[in-house]
Amino acid sequence: MTPLFASLFAARDIASLAVFRILFGTLMFVSTVRFVQSGWIDRFYGEPVFFFKYWGFAWVPTLPAAAMYAVYGVLAVLSLAIAAGLFYRVSIVLFALGFTYTQLLDVTNYLNHYYLIVLLSWLMCFMPLHRAWSVDAARKPAIRASTLPAYHLYLVRFQIGVVYCFAGLAKLNTDWLIHAQPLNIWLSARVETPLIGPLFDELWMAYLMSWAGFLFDSTIVLWLSWRRTRPYAYAVVVTFHLMTDVLFNIGMFPYIMMLSATVFLAPDWPRRLPFLPTRSPSRPRHDQPVTDSEPIASSICWRQKVGLIALLVYCAIQIAVPLRHYAYPGDVLWNEEGMRFAWKVMLREKHGSVTFRVRFPDTGKELQVSPRHYLDTRQEREMGGQPDLILQLAHHIARDIRKRVGGGDVEVRAEALVSLNGRPAALMIDPERDLTQVADGLAHGDWILPAPPGPPIQLHARTGP
């Protein structure tokens, strides 16, 4: 066995991943209950009359709101089961399926942290995280284990590392670093934050926080991975995410990241807590592989080889997908090509005003169609800055109008005025292009106009008149 394989299959204390499972399940339970309590099931699934579908997933059926309550109820129960380690294998697979289903229903529901939950829950399907501190382990002593092969831990660390690193890389742009936008805009609207709020109207504060955010995201994995800096880095993680929780309306994201970052701590860190049992019979040193319970095999079997290849492919995809926007021309913040699944977190302040112009070639008559006829305000806001969603709605409008007028040719054009990071609104889509002739897909959209030149707005606080 090569040193690499030896390292991947070395036995590591299961404790940190077991705690990760408990915290993940608990957080998902809170998140699910919060979602239901906030009335978001009706709002997200019941009220809209049109749903934006992911490319390739238009076939996913939308259930009525009453059924979605049941789905979320089941997700809540599964979350508790995951936390307790009860029927874990079944629970985590059903949870992954169910949560992924809820995310596939409408693109406008996309949030980076929801995507992270999808990825983590699918990864957890392949990890026996119920072998310690679980009801399953209590019920079935045979599955109990105090260690797991190290690649489980590395994989979760990799996933979280990808989030931070690409979130940092995404901030490597002139709006963020040179013009301190959109933080300048966001902070100016938060001057009433207790204690430090008055500083938010200062331009230097926007710069400070922009650079801080960039440096945090792009380097925190390094500091978390280095044993000497780890405690301080984790303290910074907690401070950073609590700060974002106070300042921005980003739901469970800060807590998911605080939970997830615990995987960078020593694998046995929970055993150092006074109220948790220590490992028996022997307790491993912090980062040292433990070899007492599960000796490393001298050679790897074919299943492990297949697993390793799958793991490598997964990792390659996780690195390639966030980088895919480099394959598209133009500014990703403007054309959004490669924006999703790329950890471009809280990166732009973007508002659009979209009017569809429906033309009937037979008569030459034209109608203006407001997205409001098909979307709720949240969906309209999300669509307003995302060309592929505008294209989807244009296709839907064409179908709907054809049905209303009893068939015939219909052309649909979009007048989409968009303001990015406070710039004057500019056309995002070629207003002369008939969008019914444009196919939805992954290729670059030549119907998307280039980003407007010039820097974003820079807000300065001034004494009011």
Partner: protein, 413 residues
């Protein structure tokens, strides 16, 4: 966040807890300085005074407009009484004209308030607003049916227990301005007994109901005044004191956002429903693409649609410029934009508002007439209003860090 950042910006080794600790002290020092209001050598810029803008909007725009609506509603109630008394006499038409004038005066004020639908009138799904004016929910047929209910049971009928679509200014408009006494119901919905009434009896029945509706309107508009006035409900304090512990608003920015939400009335109601749909620019209930549709007009019985649009635009202008109805100048969104260095946007929006008011006022005669004779004037007004709403929905929101209506509740990242 600042803690971790400063340690690295200072170039200190990340593994060294020293810079972290020192930057903690730095943060404490900064916080203490802010909390204690300590001065520095350089004068500190002052943030835009949101509470002052809110106070001005509440005190000098919303409350005076509500008071004016209430005063006019009282006058309207009195004129409706006079009209009912004059029915069958030589003074009937003059009394009706006076009642109609009173309705127009009340509506002109209410249309200013329509652009300011935040606070008590907008709570509970805009329940109070709908009791005062429920367009576009109004149902003339439902009014016909309640006219007959009142006729059949004059003492037992209680309008305060009825749905909003038979109450308020829109019901009164129908009762005072509809010329046909046949009613608006389809044959299968006609109120039982209506066909058996003579025309004078029908007028009496409508007038009796109008009395109730006018009295109810006066009561509802008083509720709006009372809810805001400092001597009663004092929502003014809640609004102007947004962000303080006693306020229902977490921050003044949230209250500013509520005002901005209300300003979207210009987009959804004025641009789309009051202009685009009747003009056939957008889909409407009339058959045929691009067909004008007078049935979509607001205040179509009174022929008051153009005046309503002008009032809406003027109210939008008040909120934007800060110039109240009594020419009381104060802080508005224009000042907010300028304080944020968005002078160009402030200039553009100010010019667009002026142009839209001019375009709306240039519509000749009534909107119904213009739809047939001068559709270009209506289209030009729509285009002018769209220029405002395009800025409102894009750069205005981004620069001021505001959310679109109903959007703040969802998570983001």
């Amino acid at each position: 966040m600042v803690t971790g950042i400063r340690s690295r910006l200072a170039g200190g080794p990340p593994s060294d807890p020293g810079p972290v600790r020192s930057s903690m002290w730095g943060l404490v020092a900064v916080v203490a300085a802010v909390a204690c209001g300590s001065s520095t050598e350089k004068p500190q810029p002052v943030a835009f005074d949101r509470p002052a803008m809110l106070k001005h909007i509440g005190e000098n725009m919303v409350l005076p407009i509500y008071r004016s609506v209430h005063t006019n509603a009282g006058e309207l109630s009195s004129k409706v009484d006079d009209y009912c008394t004059a029915l069958g006499t030589a003074g009937q038409q003059d009394a009706l004209d006076a009642a109609r004038d009173a309705w127009r005066a009340t509506m002109a004020q209410w249309q200013l308030a329509e652009m300011m639908l935040f606070g008590p009138v907008a709570m509970d799904g805009k329940a109070l607003r709908d009791r005062i004016y429920s367009w576009d929910l109004v149902s003339s047929c439902a009014v016909d049916q309640d006219v007959m209910r009142k006729h059949d049971d004059p003492t037992g009928y209680d309008i305060t227990g009825r749905l909003s679509n038979v109450r308020g200014l829109d019901a009164l408009e129908y009762l005072l301005f509809a010329t046909s006494l046949d009613g608006e119901c389809a044959v299968n919905n006609k109120p039982p007994g209506w066909d058996g009434l003579s025309d004078p009896e029908r007028r009496q029945a409508r007038c009796a109901f109008a009395r109730d509706a006018a009295s109810d309107l006066s009561t509802q508009t008083k509720s709006a005044v009372d809810a805001w006035a400092s001597e009663s409900g004092n929502y003014l304090a809640d609004f102007a004191g947004a962000g303080q512990s006693a306020s229902s608003f977490d921050s003044a920015q949230d209250a500013v956002n509520a005002v901005s939400d209300a300003m979207f009335y210009l987009d959804s109601q004025v641009k789309d429903m009051k202009l685009a749909e009747p003009a056939g620019i957008a889909m409407n209930r009339c058959a045929g693409v691009g067909t004008v549709c007078p049935d979509e007009l607001e205040s179509r019985y009174a022929g008051h649609s153009r005046e309503n649009i002008v009032a809406n635009l003027r109210a939008f202008g008040m909120l934007f410029t800060g110039n109240g109805p009594d020419s009381l100048d104060g802080l508005g969104f224009e000042d907010f934009l300028r304080a944020a260095s968005a002078d160009s946007l402030a200039d553009n929006m100010g010019a667009a508002i002026t142009a839209a008011v001019t375009a709306a006022e240039a519509i000749p005669g009534s909107m119904a007439g213009a739809l047939n004779t001068d559709i270009d004037a209506v289209v030009a007004t729509h285009t002018a209003v769209k220029r405002i709403t395009d800025d409102l929905k894009t750069q205005f929101l981004t620069v001021l860090g505001l959310d679109i209506p109903d959007d703040a509740a969802a998570d983001n990242d």
